[in-house]
Symmetry: C2
Subunit: 348 residues, 2 copies
Amino acid sequence: MGYVTDSDLAPAPRFVAVIPAGGVGSRLWPLSRPDRPKFLIDLLGRGATLLQETVSRLAPLSDRVVIVTGARHRAAVLDQVPGVDPADVLAEPSPRDSMAAIALAAAVVEHRWGPAIMGSFAADQTIADDDAFAAAVATAISAAESGDIVTIGIEPTQPSTAYGYIEVGEPLASPVGAYRVAAFTEKPDAATATDMLARGGFAWNAGMFVAQTSVLLGHLDRRQPTLAAGVRDIARAWDTPEREETLARVWPTLTRISIDHALAEPVAAEGGVAVVPASLGWYDVGDFATLADVSEPDDQGVIRVAHDGPIIAVDAERPVVVGGAGRTVAVVGFDDAVVAVTDDAILV
Amino acid sequence: MGYVTDSDLAPAPRFVAVIPAGGVGSRLWPLSRPDRPKFLIDLLGRGATLLQETVSRLAPLSDRVVIVTGARHRAAVLDQVPGVDPADVLAEPSPRDSMAAIALAAAVVEHRWGPAIMGSFAADQTIADDDAFAAAVATAISAAESGDIVTIGIEPTQPSTAYGYIEVGEPLASPVGAYRVAAFTEKPDAATATDMLARGGFAWNAGMFVAQTSVLLGHLDRRQPTLAAGVRDIARAWDTPEREETLARVWPTLTRISIDHALAEPVAAEGGVAVVPASLGWYDVGDFATLADVSEPDDQGVIRVAHDGPIIAVDAERPVVVGGAGRTVAVVGFDDAVVAVTDDAILV
């Protein structure tokens, strides 16, 4: 029935890393554009794109890396990560939020290789401590073996209002380092965030989820049956000539919903989610403020990201200059200014 | 089993108007606050709150009006709409997006009075042409009798990027004025919106949905079974001493999802949604720009909303001054300024 691909010849993977690479990053305009999303650019001037860094971090920890991206970005993704089997770069016809992307990957993995443990990790995050990350993933895989959905929660370093929080409950019997999730909470206001840090027992929700494919798809069968049936139909057709027809017919009927709202939050309310808290030097590179946090100021107090030209700051504290290579940038009379420069657009 | 309420003694309604009154309106701060959401204030200075206007518009068209609101707002809602049976003002323990609110109303209506047709209409919209609205609702009710979910779509008056659009398909065999929905589209960018207006055949999605309770709950059984089972459990307990215990147990497990993503969009992709396009003088009062659109400038070109004090405009075109009663407001050197004044906060 199916084509024979490299995937068919490889041994069945025990742990598959899934990278949903879909966000356009409109809060990082003009660096990030619909035709050049943030995960495809070297946002931090480190010689690797966010996607490449994510793949490099996960490849040593997993038997396979599967990437789910928009159809228009598939060619660029393949160019950037030559080590990933092209059959493992799945193209969505249109964005339908994170649950459809992750569920599609789960269904394709299970259809191709049988039940496995998978971990989903966004392509637009940076992590400073790779060893701590590897340890957290290993603990999460172990916890997932007992049937939980397991999230890796970030130990908060400040009362951020930019992230949702996870209320950490009782420790699991095993493994050490895994806890029951008491609840997921929405992004708090500043007072609530300060209170949560003072009380302790909370972690940031970084959207990292590890689970058996059968557990994830089983919760979906129960809670989102049309979405589950849809991705299973698509997965059966994926490696056959029927892929395009099936995608065209089924994909537009899939419910748009985030994995947080479809699974993490309600399954946690039922007691089925665990968390592995970890200190990773983690950043979600969602906006310029985060970009400034991730970058070091130079000896003039200027933060440069992918900019090595002169920067003139007059009556201007802590300017952040992003992009623009060697061009001269002057910031006058504004504190905390962010100047982002590309060839055809400037944002101040 | 249940308490005897007024509701039990009334004849079974044929058409029930449901008003989800839940949005805080953070884009209208400081006029709108969590403890004083926009639907509870006289935002337009017309002597009635948005909720009161919505009830006045719907009461003549329906056999009952059911309001779903947050627990903290229930007392204020009851004060404002004395004509609504208190048993018909349903309090949610916490916000869980529009689908849970509307599904709860559907389940309570069906459990109390048996299957009916219901229409859901947000509490934060204004409509200038009540007669056109009444005609559109009547057409939508007629279309709903054949088993469709029916939305009232607004004929666009400008290429707005603030609303989702409905692609209008073929006319239904009956009633006249109802059409198949080809697709719901997300908020477009300016170029796409201009193109859609030029091509014609699109309507704004105002979030108004009319359907048989059995049709709405039937789609939910299939697409969101845990949400459907949850609201049915709650509805069975609503008029009994078990209401609080059931809410505490079940409400936190309900999936957070909008009615657009849970039903309108995917059911339209299956061919199960109809639209009645209408010109209503409709506004979604979501932000200050809309507020200015809804209000008439005075002979100095100043737009006043709930402000009758002096306004001094120097080098400032089209200032909008909202609230502040008789206080003097000066706007100097800014065009299109919006000044919103309350007792304890000023936004410029």
